[in-house]
């Protein structure tokens, strides 16, 4: 059996130079901004939420209530079911549809105050090997129980959405161990419905342990 090295990621943030003061500007930017910016503004709260309570789960909803005072739209964006989007483009389309629908129904002339603009920020991910190298599924399970939440986020969210290789590597490694059913279960896991990364980790551990229990 070949070894599998677990990776983790750290994120650095970079300004895109795009900002918005009202909904038409926000919409125009969402249509053309790079995927890592959409990813950053929608998903980073999943990483942050384990230490601070937040009102809305993504930056767009947060800004729309905070700076534009449009609670109905903020609530619609807050209630996005991230399980529905296999990739960032699908998410982008849904964001556009929700905002366009809202703009068609309501007066959206309100502008944010100076200093309250929405700044589009992309994230750069730097991935690197950890000291966790496993040779079988038992070790992989123990590692998943132990690695930090940033790594869980990287494997099961970031890597899947941003075309990264690490989730695919993990899948291939599990497949090489003839665990077709297990990878199917992990593939069908939609990680966005969990309150935080701890809950997601627990579900992954439950799936793997359940699989082993069935196959003893």
């Amino acid at each position: 059996m070949t070894d599998l090295t677990f990776y983790r990621a750290r994120y650095q943030f970079e300004l895109t130079g795009k900002k918005a003061r009202d909904l038409p500007e926000l919409l125009a930017a969402i249509k053309e901004i790079d995927e890592s910016s959409i990813f950053n503004h929608v998903y980073h709260a999943l990483l942050d939420s384990h230490f601070l309570p937040i009102g809305y789960p993504n930056d767009f909803a947060h800004w729309i209530i905070d700076a534009l005072h449009e609670p109905v739209l903020a609530e619609r964006l807050a209630n996005l079911d991230l399980r529905e989007f296999p990739d960032i483009e699908a998410l982008r389309e849904e964001l556009i549809r929700i905002i366009e629908d809202y703009m068609a129904m309501y007066d959206v002339s309100r502008r944010a105050d100076v200093g309250q603009e929405f700044y589009f920020i992309r994230c750069i991910s730097v991935t690197f090997p950890t000291r966790h190298v496993v040779t079988n599924m038992n070790e992989a399970l123990e590692t998943i129980k132990e690695i930090d939440l940033d790594s869980i986020f990287h494997y099961f969210i970031a890597s899947r959405l941003l075309g990264g290789e690490h989730y695919k590597e993990l899948s291939r490694w599990i497949l090489r161990n003839d665990s077709h059913e297990l990878i199917e279960k992990l593939d069908s896991l939609y990680p966005y419905g969990f309150a935080n990364m701890d809950a997601l980790r627990n579900e992954i551990v439950r799936i793997i342990e359940g699989y082993f229990w069935e196959h003893i």
């Binding site: 990776y7 983790r8 750290r10 994120y11 650095q12 943030f13 970079e14 300004l15 130079g17 900002k19 790079d34 890592s36 942050d48 230490f51 601070l52 309570p53 100076v114 200093g115 603009e117 700044y119 920020i121 992309r122 750069i124 991910s125 730097v126 991935t127 690197f128 090997p129 950890t130 000291r131 930090d148 940033d150 941003l162 990264g164 290789e165």
Partner: protein, 433 residues
């Protein structure tokens, strides 16, 4: 500075995974790193570098910290640059001055005089940057130039990645000074700003975001015993027999010290408490002593208001003790840069009430780590609320400390610098080491 420090000194403060990652990232940095700014002591930049440089060295990265030299005129000019770049943050209150009508000729003369003065300033600035570039060894793989003073050193760049680290708000600068500085700054490989609000859209180079940080092991933030705190308060004649509200800030109009006193007086009618206003006067601020005297006058006859002028400046341990002795910490600025003193207060587990300006809202998450206020009444209401509810104060203080632990400590700052160095060597959006 030859001192080194191990990141593992922070093992009891931040998550182990972060320290492991810093070590791993550092292994991928090759070559020499050079930081250049204007001073080894005094001010936030020097404070951060004093902590950062030993940590970089402790990671085995060859690191140097140099400062530029210049005459009084040069530093007076760079202070002017600083003021006109930084001084107009968030639409600063600028009172228009009524002038007597002047003739076209007088107007023209005045404009020529201004142009001449500006040209002389620029020449002096470039002269001292050239002198420094000839004297310094700038041959490094990564060169971090901090703030505008040494920005023109880029003109002699031979190799390596050069990063302009801007600690001030240049979002709304004086256009003449900015256009002059923009020319060298645009030659850098990248820039770093503390928040998106402080950045410029016209640089044409990569702009990274790195908030500033505090060092939890520095004298200003290290744990103090009750005995240590008591000794400092005794020295200044302050008794800890009633709740203390504190604002640590320079005597500067934009810190709204009269507003803090007014808020305190409203609270004092209902709850017995005391107020500490501790700070210094910047040597280049002609208004500072005037503000101090105004504050003294406003506090006159109030025996529970302690107006403390640090002259010579308070030691870091004294500032630490004032903050740790406090029940509530204020930073009621009308206008602010990043306002890192807020993080200092939060790190000590204290609820902080701040003005909603500059970088303060990044540190105070309203109703989670403290309160953002917009008026004297708002400040008074929130102070009273906190004094009456120790449990609420404890909850905000705990959340504030965690917020700082994750976002505003030197270890996160160090990690960000390592990531930026790696990002510059691998321009793709996903970097696999």
């Amino acid at each position: 500075m030859n001192e080194t420090r191990s990141i593992w000194d922070y093992e009891d403060i931040v998550e182990r995974g972060l320290l492991e990652d810093i070590e791993l990232l550092a292994e991928h940095i090759s070559g020499r790193v050079l930081h250049i700014n204007a001073t080894y002591s005094g001010g936030g930049v020097a404070e951060i570098l004093s902590s950062m440089i030993p940590l970089l060295k402790g990671l085995g990265i060859e690191t140097e910290w140099n400062i530029i030299r210049g005459d009084d005129e040069f530093f007076s000019i760079t202070k002017t640059f600083h003021n006109v770049l930084h001084g107009r943050v968030n639409g600063a209150v600028e009172v228009p001055v009524a002038h007597e009508p002047v003739s076209v000729l007088d107007d023209l003369k005045s404009e020529i005089g201004e142009l001449t003065r500006r040209k002389e300033m620029f020449e002096t600035y470039l002269h001292w940057n050239k002198v420094n570039s000839e004297e310094m060894d700038l041959d490094s793989d990564f060169v971090f130039i901090h703030d505008p003073q040494p920005a023109a050193l880029i003109d002699v760049k031979q190799r390596g990645k050069w990063i302009w680290r801007c600690h001030i708000d240049v979002s709304n600068p004086d256009p003449h000074i900015w256009n002059f500085l923009k020319e060298p700054i645009s030659k850098y490989d990248a820039s770093i700003f503390s928040t998106p609000m402080f950045a410029r859209p016209d640089l044409g180079i990569r702009e990274f975001l790195v908030p500033p940080s505090i060092d939890p092991l520095s004298d200003k933030n290290i744990e103090l015993s009750q005995g240590d705190i008591g000794r400092v308060l005794d020295k200044y004649g302050i008794c800890m027999d009633k709740p203390i509200i504190t604002q640590v800030s320079r005597f500067d109009r934009l810190k709204d010290l009269p507003g803090v006193i007014d808020a305190y007086k409203l609270v004092k009618k209902r709850i017995d408490c005391q107020l500490i206003l501790a700070g210094g006067v910047a040597s280049d601020d002609p208004e500072g002593m005037g503000v101090y005297h105004e504050v003294m006058e406003k506090a006159d006859g109030e025996e529970d208001i302690h107006v403390l002028l640090g002259s010579p400046p308070f030691s870091d341990i004294e500032i630490n003790a004032f903050q740790r002795a406090s029940t509530v910490i204020m930073q009621k600025s009308l206008k602010e840069g990043f306002g890192l003193v807020v993080s200092e207060g939060l790190w000590k587990g204290k609820p902080v009430i701040g003005g909603a300006t500059g970088g303060i809202p990044l540190q105070i998450v309203n109703d989670v780590t403290g309160y953002l206020v917009h008026s004297v009444d708002g400040a008074a209401f929130k102070i009273a609320n906190l004094l009456k509810n120790p449990e609420l104060s404890r909850r905000l203080g705990e959340a504030g400390k965690e917020h700082v632990r994750h976002n505003f400590l030197i270890t996160r700052h160090l990690k960000d610098y390592l990531l930026i160095m790696l990002s510059l060597e691998n321009p793709s959006g996903t970097i696999r080491l």
